[in-house]
Symmetry: C2
Subunit: 100 residues, 2 copies
């Protein structure tokens, strides 16, 4: 299993638009991408500019296919202009699990 935490810092005036776009991305990912354990959008309870994707994938193969999907390639790249500073991406493995 792979978990990914994508912590994004969205410009204040673009938060609503960003959420609107990402709701479509979440829906398509959950519907179309095999091996997707979790793909959810969460907003920090103190700082609404911090919006984080919590992802879970069964394998590297499932993640690679997601990142090669049409919805990923169409929706994600343009979003970088929405961010106040670069996103923080951490790719995790359960403690003690070997790579699969």
């Amino acid at each position: 299993m792979i978990r990914i935490i994508v912590k994004q810092f969205v410009k204040p005036d673009l938060i609503d638009r960003y959420i609107e776009i990402m709701k479509e991305m979440v829906a398509k990912t959950r519907e179309l991408d095999e091996g997707c354990i979790e793909y959810g959008l969460f907003q920090d309870s103190k700082d609404p500019q911090i919006i984080t994707l919590i992802e879970g994938w069964e394998s590297q193969h499932a993640l690679d296919k997601h990142m090669d999907s049409t919805h990923f390639k169409e929706i994600i790249p343009p979003l970088s202009t929405f961010f106040e500073k670069p996103e923080e991406v951490n790719i995790y493995r359960p403690v003690g699990e070997k790579r699969k």
Copy 2:
């Protein structure tokens, strides 16, 4: 629902000991704490010093009870000496969900 991401930066020589201690914390939390949706320990695939707790709680009440538990009070506070720099804690709500 509440999601919490606790990103910790563990001193290199204490990683194994830290993981050993936290495995007990994870087991007790999953077993004893009602309303626990997820409580898992994950290690960054590039930087083994970054070890992150991904948590999910049904409500603020469930989270409060967890932080008031014996295992939390006994295990968590001493761990701060294991860290190279302060942990990053983000408390999240699903986008669009009102507080419960």
